[in-house]
Each structure stands twice: as structure tokens, then as C-alpha cells.
């Protein structure tokens, strides 16, 4: 971020998460195999201001969902720190203090079929956070609050008596949102909330999320692989590749003036309605395994601008045009910045 004077609501510094995927000890010893460590998240820094939508994009396996889980505390980090509204999430504190912090952040998951307990009525699903944090005075208050949350996501309080299977995918995702809102959070981590939905339903959910954000002053960390969705919903965007952030920029800057070669490649590959009959040159190669990531800049084997330095030295994130980019070619000025304002500029 350009300056520290902005009110940083969520601050992530040097966040790392490694997973040990080695074979069992005996097998390793007998067959002489080395340990295998997946570097799912390998040192990322993110600052999210209050009320903004910060999106993480990247291909599968780049570590974006791991970041989401680290932020809400579903995984402990291997290294690095997460600060939430000035409180270090790893700092020593009592259970009660922790619960008070936890109440303020909630998560929405990708698959609305898997994230709702099929044996619970919708009422109980939405009431669970309210009960867990003791936010209701009595039964009538609880019913009131649940009804209010359901209305907020355009369902009716009467829907509370039904079970999740009675709803369509889009409605189930609304229930997940109602559950996430139940504890009056300020910060929502949304892990691919619309990728399991059809486009017309996706539009409903995205509109609902934007609407809720305005009314409740929510801050979103939005994880998605769909660049068009990210373009639509975000204030700022971070692009991840193999566990690292390669570029962070305000949304318009990222899409109009992409800097990192990987960002440019991603933008080139999205099929778009305006591109009927377009001939495009797809980039060769695939995302390498995060078990043995390439040395230096992890993108160098696929990068058309890579040189010797890229192979050995890991690029640092340098501030540029209100964001950061981690690329030697940009730093050295070997690679210019292209302007690709789209035909129909934004409204």
C-alpha cells in the first residue's frame, strides 16, 4: 500500500503456510525418500482498508483458498502475522477476547451443498452463530434476529422451518450469507461464493453482496478464479501465483494497465462475450507443482521476459501506480507498461 495513514482494517504480513505431504516416516526411511513440503502460501503481505473489497485471483493450486482459511483462523500460519483491527490474531489472550474478535469475522464457502448441515433446519443453521456468541436475550429475540437475517438475504422467516435440500443452489448460498451475517460481523471472507452457481443466479448473489456491503459497511476478502467477477466486485485486486502475490493494484489499474507478465497472461486468456471470433495466442505451459517450485521468480519457466536474474533471485514487491508488482523485468524497465483500455470504457 502507498502509505500507512490509511485505516488498515486487516493487515497480513509475511504470511506463510507450509503443508507436510511426506510419505510416512517408515516408508521414507526404508526407501530413502526426502520430506515433501507444499509451500501453499509463501510469504504474502496484504492490507485491507475498512469497507473495501479486496480480491485474490489465481488459478487452482495457487494458494488463494489457503489464505482465506488462514485469515479466519481455520489454519494456524507457519510464519507471519495477521492483524485484525489492530489486534494480532496470534497474540496471547483469553478465550473471551478471542471469541469477541472471531464474532467480527465470518466466512462464506464455495459449495452451498456441502457447507450447510442437511439435518438442521435453516432456522438452526442461521441461529447457531447467535447462540454460540450469546447474542440473543431470549427465544423471541432469537427468532426476531433470524427472521431479520433471512429477510436481509431476500428469503422469508417462514423459510426457517425448511431443510437445506428444499432450496436451490442460489437460495442455499443466501442461507450461507444469512448465517455469516448472524453475528453482525464487519469482515467477511468469501471463498469462491458464486463459482458453484449458474450465471443468472451468480448475478443475483453478487448484486446481493454489493447491496449488503453498502448497507452494513462490510469489508470483504473475496477469493475467486473468475476475473470478470473480480473486475465487477472489487476495489483492489491481488494476483497470486504459486503461493506468492505477484501483483496488487486498484481494480481499474490492474485491468487497464496490467504489469506483471502473469497478470497479462491471465487477462489474455479469459473468454469474453465481446471477443466473438477472436484469435488468441494461449500461453504455453501449466502451473508447476508447489512441492518443488521453480527457483527465483516462480513464474520464470512460463514467462516470455525471463532472464538469468529471474531464475535465481526472488523479486520483491515494489510500489507502482498505487499498487505493488513483484517482477524484475518491470523493475529494470525491460518490460514496458501497456495501456489496454477496453473498447466500451466503464460507466
Amino acid at each position: 500500500m502507498p502509505d500507512g495513514s490509511m485505516n488498515q482494517f486487516v493487515k497480513i504480513e509475511g504470511l506463510k503456510r507450509y503443508f507436510d505431504v511426506s510419505a510416512p516416516w517408515l516408508v521414507r526411511t526404508l526407501e530413502g525418500r526426502p520430506r515433501q513440503i507444499v509451500q501453499a502460501v509463501d510469504g504474502i503481505d496484504i492490507e485491507i482498508a475498512k469497507g473495501e473489497t479486496f480480491s485474490l485471483v489465481g488459478e487452482s493450486g495457487c494458494g488463494k483458498s489457503t489464505v482465506a482459511r488462514l485469515v479466519v483462523g481455520l489454519y494456524p500460519p507457519t510464519a507471519g502475522s495477521i492483524e485484525f483491527d489492530g489486534n494480532d490474531m496470534a497474540g496471547p489472550r483469553s478465550r473471551a477476547d478471542m471469541a469477541a474478535l472471531r464474532r467480527r469475522m465470518q466466512m462464506i464457502f464455495q459449495d452451498p451443498y456441502a457447507s450447510l448441515n442437511p439435518r438442521w433446519r435453516v432456522f438452526d443453521i442461521v441461529a447457531e452463530p447467535i447462540r454460540a456468541f450469546g447474542l440473543a436475550k431470549d427465544k423471541a429475540d432469537l427468532e426476531n434476529q433470524v427472521g431479520e437475517r433471512l429477510r436481509q438475504v431476500r428469503l422469508t422467516p417462514a423459510d426457517g422451518r425448511k431443510y437445506p435440500h428444499e432450496f436451490s443452489g442460489g437460495q442455499r448460498q443466501r442461507i450461507s450469507i444469512a448465517r455469516a451475517l448472524a453475528s453482525h460481523p464487519e469482515f467477511l471472507v468469501c471463498d469462491e461464493p458464486t463459482s458453484a452457481l449458474d450465471v443468472s443466479v451468480q448475478a443475483q448473489i453478487l448484486n446481493l453482496m454489493v447491496d449488503l456491503q453498502r448497507r452494513l459497511q462490510l469489508t470483504y476478502l473475496f477469493i475467486s478464479h473468475n476475473l470478470a467477477v473480480v473486475y465487477h466486485i472489487s476495489t483492489r485486486v491481488g494476483v497470486m501465483y504459486l503461493g506468492r502475490l505477484v501483483e496488487v493494484a486498484p481494480t481499474d489499474t490492474l485491468f487497464m494497465r496490467p504489469k506483471h507478465p502473469y497478470t497479462r497472461m491471465l487477462l489474455d486468456t479469459i473468454p469474453d462475450l465481446d471477443m466473438t471470433g477472436r484469435q488468441r495466442a494461449p500461453v504455453a505451459g501449466e502451473v508447476p507443482s508447489p512441492i518443488n517450485p521453480p527457483s527465483g521468480c516462480t513464474f520464470h519457466p512460463r514467462c516470455p521476459f525471463a532472464n538469468e536474474r529471474c531464475k535465481v533471485e526472488r523479486p520483491k514487491a515494489l510500489p507502482i501506480e498505487g499498487g505493488t508488482v513483484a517482477c524484475h523485468a518491470i523493475e529494470e524497465g525491460r518490460l514496458g507498461i501497456e495501456d489496454r483500455s477496453y473498447a466500451g470504457a466503464r460507466e
Binding site: E59, S60, S168, G170, Q171, D198, V199, S200, V201, Q202, A203, Q204, L206, N207, V210, H225, N226, L227, A228, V229, Y231, H232, I233, F255, M265, L266, L267, D268, T269, I270, P271, D272, L273, D274, M275, T276, G277, R278, R280, P282, V283, A284, E286, V287, Y342, A343, G344, A345, R346, E347
Partner: protein, 339 residues
Amino acid sequence: MAVSNNPPLLEVKNLRVEFPTRRGTLLAVDDVSFDIAPGEVLGVVGESGAGKSLTGNAIIGLLEPPGRIAGGEVKLEGRRIDNLPYEEMRKVRGAKIGAIFQDPLTSLNPLYSIGRQLVETIQTHLPLSASQARKRALDLLKEVGIPGAENRIDHYPHQFSGGMRQRVVIALALCADPRLIVADEPTTALDVSIQAQIIALLKRLCREHHTAVMLVTHDMGVIAETADRVAVMYAGRIAEIGPVRDVVKQAKHPYTKGLMGSIPSLGVRHDKLTQIDGAMPRLTEIPPGCAFNPRCTVRGQRCMVERPNLMSAGASRAACWLHDRGGVGAPVTKELVDA
């Protein structure tokens, strides 16, 4: 319908697919007609449950029981294939029609090397010796862009990445040089950068081999880039069919319009996406009249009682009374909706 004067390669007429269930018979594909010219790419889009995959499966004769073709006919090069016995259909499938499915891991046998699977398929359909077949398999693998094909041919499916597996599946579909490929969501399981590679590959191969493709997907972006014509399906019927440019830019059916508006685009950033309220009806609850009428913003009384068939609308054909001389009828009043 087809732009060219050649006789169509594939003709589908009034196809109906039904599922007998305990609570009555469900009509999953209802009176679907279209044709595909040689070398043409027809995109079939729709949301989940619209019947697009069933249409594809009915054409290649792979409907899962209890699903069955209840009416209509499918003709390939003028010959009916929907009523062929299983063994004969097996010969058509592979030789004349290739199939590509969504998940490349489940369409390959994990126990055989990909070379063996290719050779087996080639020898089933072409009179080649084992060594000739292996040479052809190698050529196909090179053609679909597998690096180091000479070594990779003896590898097993799990040794390939998702994108490479899908390339192998495409090679399998091309084994006997079919006239038509039915590709059901071929890129849905892949990452965007890999998806772009696979689409480019499919386009190039079809051009070179003059193969027609029926591309079934829910991704309008993929269709916009690949297809010549597109059919939009809704609740088991074709809502609109026409040249891809017309359908994307000047949609004639209110559903297509809503669908296009609900796709976030990189060009313009709207404050709000167009949204179609509600969801597609379940097969048990298809409303009378036009199936889209409860979600339609421009419906009239006629839409609630009379079902529209495809009719001419500009360069496309749409199943909507807006394009009929009679129009949609009187405006719908609130009392009528409640009744």
C-alpha cells in the same frame, strides 16, 4: 437453418427425452430440433438442468437409463441413428461421432496406458495393424500438442496433468477421424489458462479435419469465442438459436437477454448486473404456456397459456411471442398472477 447449401451433417428433429419416475414421466428434452452443417461449430448453452447434456447424450446414444428417447429422430449424414441396436451404435460412435466429456480423469481408464487405449480405439474402427495403429496414436498425440509424445505414450492417465489429460481425450475422440464431435463441457474442469489452450486446440483441429462440433457448455464466453451458431436452452427446449454474434449482441428472447446481462464483462463495469429473478423451474413444475413466463419482465397473457415454438426473429429464431404477429397478448394483471 444452416447457412451453407450442403446437406446438414446432423439433423435433430423434434427430439424428446423422458424419464419415467414414480411420480409420473418427466420430459427433460422437449421437442428440440436443430441441425449442424459439415465443419460447423454449434454451441449449446443453458443453465444446469436445461437439458443440454441430455441432448448431447441422446445424439451419441449414451442416455443413462431410465432416461430414453421418447420421440423425434436423429439423422447423421441422412441415416437415422437414434433407433440403431446397441452394437451398431457402438460402431457409429467413435467412427462417425467422437465424444469429449467434462472430466478427463473419468473418461480415461486408469489401468491402461494411454497408448494402449488409443491403439484399442483405433483398431476397433480402422483396419490397421498393431504397429500402424501405434504410429497413428503417436501422430495424434503429437497433433494435440503433448510434448515428448514418444515417451508419454506409455504413461498412465494419472501421470498427466488435467490439461494434458483433456488433450489425450481429444486425441481419443479423433482416432477414427469422425465427422462430428460432441463435446460436453470440455473445459469446465480446467483453469482459465489451460482452458484457452484447449479451446484453441479444438478450433484448430476442427478446421484442419473439417470436423463439425456440438459444443455443450454453460460458459457463454467459450461459446462466443468458438461457435459459429449457438442454441440457448431453457427448461428442456430451445429458447433461441442463431449466429453467435446475433445471439450475443442482439438477443431476441428475453431469457437470452437476461442471461447475457447477468454475465460480468471485462469491457464495461456496471453498478449492478442485470439479474433474472427466480430460478429455472424444476421438471416437475414447468408452468403452462412459455416455460420462462414467471421470470419474464415482458410477458403478456398469451405467454401464460400458449407455448411458443421457434419463430423467425431477425437473423435468429426465438421461441417468444414477441416475434409473432399476434404479440404477447394483453398485459398481465396482478389478480391473474395470484389466481
